[in-house]
Symmetry: C2
Subunit: 224 residues, 2 copies
DNA sequence: AGCTGTGAAAAGATTCACAGCG
DNA sequence: CGCTGTGAATCTTTTCACAGCT
């Protein structure tokens, strides 16, 4: 296919823009005015060609011979990610992890407002959480609809995740962040991202395994 | 280049093997004996061609006309991921998230043994955690070396992450799972994976942004 | 017949290398 | 000159489509 329309930012690039944004916020705080692709790339842990290619999807923002204006670039990335408007979110499943997520200040400071914390356990309902209280899951649809919630975060046990997901989607949520170790099935218009803690550990385990095999003999054996 | 040696499993495949493994464990629990690529793929949320290609890197495990033996396949994936031996781990940074991670049963049940929980805050040192107590970060090197820890999990604030990372690496850790919102610099032989909660939300925000732009103008042609 | 395993094609992401602007 | 922005080359991942085994 031919030309990539403005706004057609590749997935891999979108994921990195969030990193650049954080780095740039740090640079703004440090009163840095301009930054070169080389410098920014080093701080962000990527190479400069990739960084420039990523930024090129946002348009031509830099000044040749100089670099990027830190403030301008940060604004541009924030608006590309749709972060100029606050987004309302709900969190479902207030166990250990749910509490940790509720307490994470990084969400609020980055424009995400949680308007409801839900749990199915009657014993937990009513408990204080952040500046609010845990609500009964029965109220989920009501809250989602009345606040026009766009992102649902699922931190329930695996068994409950698909049902919760369906309720969120039926109520109008179109983006889901899933911490439950289960695969969610959703309609095409809904985006799901998953954070799979055990999987991350297993991927590291694979690389450990790989490093220890063939240590010192130059040979890799194995094969079933 | 030329031929892919046995054991040369692509990164993208490794990440999915962890998902297949979980699905297969569910099937074993449900006493399922064999499964086709089509069935397994559906449950795992991928297409069957990808699944078969992924499994082909482990060797020829299935039976044509029949499918895969659930137990055999699960064993094969587990051994490929190096999960036949338990791995020792440490967790550094016992705040909200650290507590949640320490309480997550999915690690232990999947072969990861945490041999130390560390924090820099003297007020927290000595507090009970899981079946142990929070230790002073000063003991980090001692514990890592004496237990031959291979995986370090970092759940500290961003400012502390790089220092903790260096201490882990110097003590011999070669794999790191980083929950702090910061980019870690490590030697080539060390693997880092990061879980960036705010970034995940921002990626969803991007897609929300994308969906809402062009709503009602007929220019949007479905969503990926 | 049915389903796996896999070459080959297509799509996507990264890196190279340099033209071109300030 | 120095640094951005970008086509072209390369590498990786996904998808297709079917040969080949049970």
């Amino acid at each position: 296919m031919s030309e990539r329309r403005p706004g057609e930012i590749p997935e891999a690039t979108v994921a990195r823009l969030a990193v650049y944004l954080r780095v740039l916020t740090g640079l703004v705080d440090a009163s840095t005015v301009t930054v070169s692709s080389e410098e920014l790339a080093t701080i962000a842990g990527v190479n400069s060609a990739k960084l420039r290619k990523d930024l090129s999807y946002l348009g031509s923002i830099g000044t040749r011979g100089v670099g990027y204006d830190v403030t301008v670039l940060r604004e541009k990335i924030a608006s590309s990610l749709g972060l100029t408007q606050r987004r309302t979110c709900v969190l479902v499943g207030i166990g250990n992890l749910g509490h940790a997520l509720a307490g994470y200040s990084g969400f609020s400071s980055r424009g995400f407002t949680f308007v409801g914390y839900f749990d199915a356990d009657p014993a937990r309902v009513g408990e204080p959480i952040v500046d609010s209280r845990i609500r009964d899951i029965a109220e989920l649809e009501l809250v989602v609809k009345s606040h026009g919630v766009s992102i649902g975060v699922i931190a329930t046990p695996a068994e409950a995740a698909q049902t919760v997901c369906e309720r969120l989607v039926d109520a109008g949520v179109t983006s889901i962040l899933n911490f439950a170790p289960s695969v969610l099935t959703v309609p095409d218009n809904v985006d799901v991202r998953k954070v799979d803690l055990a999987a991350e550990m297993q991927i590291l385990s694979f690389h450990e395994h790989r490093k220890s095999r063939g240590l010192g003999n130059g040979l890799v054996e194995s094969v079933g």
